[in-house]
């Protein structure tokens, strides 16, 4: 990835610096909010370096998103972390059930996904429009947009209320968005349009098991590694929280896709079985 960046991206110097500063400023905002919620184990730092070769020539922007601040998890068998006060239950995305106070001091951390949106691909067009594909694990997915996307991919229609409830009660919902920013020539504020082009979700018990469902990418944007990024980041988020049993049920045409991502079919003979009500 670094080589792609430094292999001569010729961009007008001023606009690049401006966009770089914009990113840097939003990074600072994210970072300071994370300092306040100090028990986050997720992505929180965005490093930005501007590498000036020759003044007046071009500037090469190297941005690394998603480096981790990993002070909480200890490698090895036992995980010793701190109890996340249920007062801050606003962050916990699960339906509320009575929490019996734990008597042990050791509890696994329940950490909300507070990562900043990660820009995967960014393109500047000569007319000044900027298009970005961003990955996010905490932006609310619009159910109507999702339904459109499901139809585009060719999936059967599902009851919207059920889909809405499923998303609300999923442990993690990751989405890919196409963000189009067009600069207005007469000084008006930039028009920003956001479109859902991919999604994946996972259900989990927050501690041991997770199942990935509903991975989809808009057919127009397939073939660019976006689906791969989606699933990889989901796996990454789960593993970093020590959720090691990650399962999914793949249609025959995507088995190879998941094999390339590190998934094995029926390992040691373990197979998924499904319940069919007999009336």
């Amino acid at each position: 990835m670094a080589t792609a960046l430094t292999s001569g991206a010729h961009l007008p110097q001023t606009s690049l610096l401006q966009s770089g500063l914009h990113l840097y400023q939003s990074a600072i905002l994210v970072h300071s909010s994370n300092l306040w919620a100090d028990r986050l184990s997720q992505v929180s730092e965005i490093h930005l370096t501007v590498d000036m070769r020759k003044p007046g020539d071009h500037a090469i922007l190297k941005a690394t998103f998603g480096s981790e601040k990993n002070g909480l998890h200890r490698r090895g068998s036992k995980l010793v972390v701190h109890f996340w006060d249920t007062v801050r239950s606003g962050f916990i995305k699960q339906p509320s059930t009575s929490v019996t106070g734990p008597r042990d001091a050791e509890l696994s951390e329940d950490v909300p996904f507070n990562d900043a949106d990660v820009v995967i691909i960014e393109k500047m067009h000569p007319d000044g429009t900027r298009e970005k594909i961003t990955f996010s694990s905490n932006v609310a997915v619009n159910v109507q947009e999702l339904e459109q996307l499901c139809l585009k991919v060719g999936w059967p229609k599902r009851a919207q209320s059920k889909v809405e409830a499923a998303i609300k009660n999923s442990f993690m919902v990751a989405s890919l968005s196409l963000v189009r920013e067009s600069s207005q020539p007469d000084g008006r504020p930039n028009e920003v349009k956001r479109e859902l082009i991919g999604m994946a979700r996972a259900t989990s018990d927050h501690v041991f098991n997770a199942t990935i469902w509903d991975v989809l990418v808009d057919p127009c944007y397939q073939g660019q590694g976006l689906g791969k990024a989606l699933v990889e980041q989901m796996v990454r988020a789960l593993l970093r929280r020590n959720i090691g049993n990650i399962t999914l049920f793949a249609d025959s045409q995507v088995v190879d896709f998941y094999k390339n991502l590190g998934f094995e079919a029926d390992p040691e003979g373990i197979k998924g079985m499904f319940w069919y009500p007999r009336f």
Partner: protein, 231 residues
């Protein structure tokens, strides 16, 4: 807790999460060679190297959609799955139970367990089914599973999955489970490290899983020919 007809007289089945003592649960799972990891590390004699940690179990129960447990009031016929010393420690650790039952009454023994996770609408998965070794093949496992299925059905969830090892398939088949009608392939994440870089690998029982790298931004050159479809 209600008495259910058809079980041994001193047993009762419950959906109450708080009825499950996580120390007993850890021992019950260990007795059935489970510790919630898909590929647990085993000792040379076949027993578990490390049991599931009770506090982790407590969290897992909290975030499970349904928890079904069968308790027995008397001593377990055929022998308990917990050692006597551990049971005595248990009695000391659970004073509130002793208060309600009286010091002379024994702590109810967890003899069967099962739980389900779901998104409360579309899909559910069954995990950690366990029956005390000396009480197996009496229908307790089936009772647990049927209770789970009925409760999930009540909430409108009909897409219910369970991961089964080859030796568990007959049990699930007998309870109404089968291979996926849509012919999907069950896949588990098992990428293991081929390099020795330690900071991107985590151990889970017998397996060491590689953690995928964080996303990095890619900047594409802007030119008239490049569209958004193909880069």
């Amino acid at each position: 807790m209600a008495l259910s007809g058809g079980l041994l007289p001193q047993t009762s089945i419950s959906l109450n999460k708080d009825a499950v003592d996580v120390v007993q649960l850890s021992a019950l799972l260990a007795a059935t060679r489970q510790n919630c990891l898909q590929f647990p590390l085993l000792q040379p004699d076949g027993s578990l190297a490390e049991a599931a940690h009770p506090s982790k179990l407590r969290l897992a129960l909290h975030y499970s959609t349904l928890v079904v447990s069968i308790h027995m009031r008397g001593p377990i016929p055929g022998g308990d799955y917990m050692h006597t010393t551990d049971r005595k420690h248990q009695q000391q650790r659970t004073p509130f139970l002793n208060f309600s039952l009286g010091q002379s009454r024994p702590v109810p023994r967890l003899i069967a367990f099962g739980r389900a996770t779901s998104d409360h609408a579309l899909t559910a998965s069954i995990h950690d089914l366990a029956v005390a070794p000396s009480l197996q093949r009496r229908g307790f496992g089936r009772r647990i599973l049927q209770k789970l299925l009925r409760e999930l059905g009540r909430r409108g969830i009909t897409d219910i999955a369970a991961l089964a090892a080859p030796e568990q398939r007959p049990f699930f088949t007998a309870c109404g489970f089968g291979d996926d009608e849509l012919n999907s392939t069950t896949m588990l994440y098992l990428r293991s490290s081929m390099t020795s870089r330690e900071d991107s690998v985590k151990r889970f029982g017998r397996k060491s899983l590689v953690i995928p790298a964080a996303l990095r931004a890619m900047y594409m050159p802007s030119s008239g020919q490049h569209d958004m479809e193909r880069s």
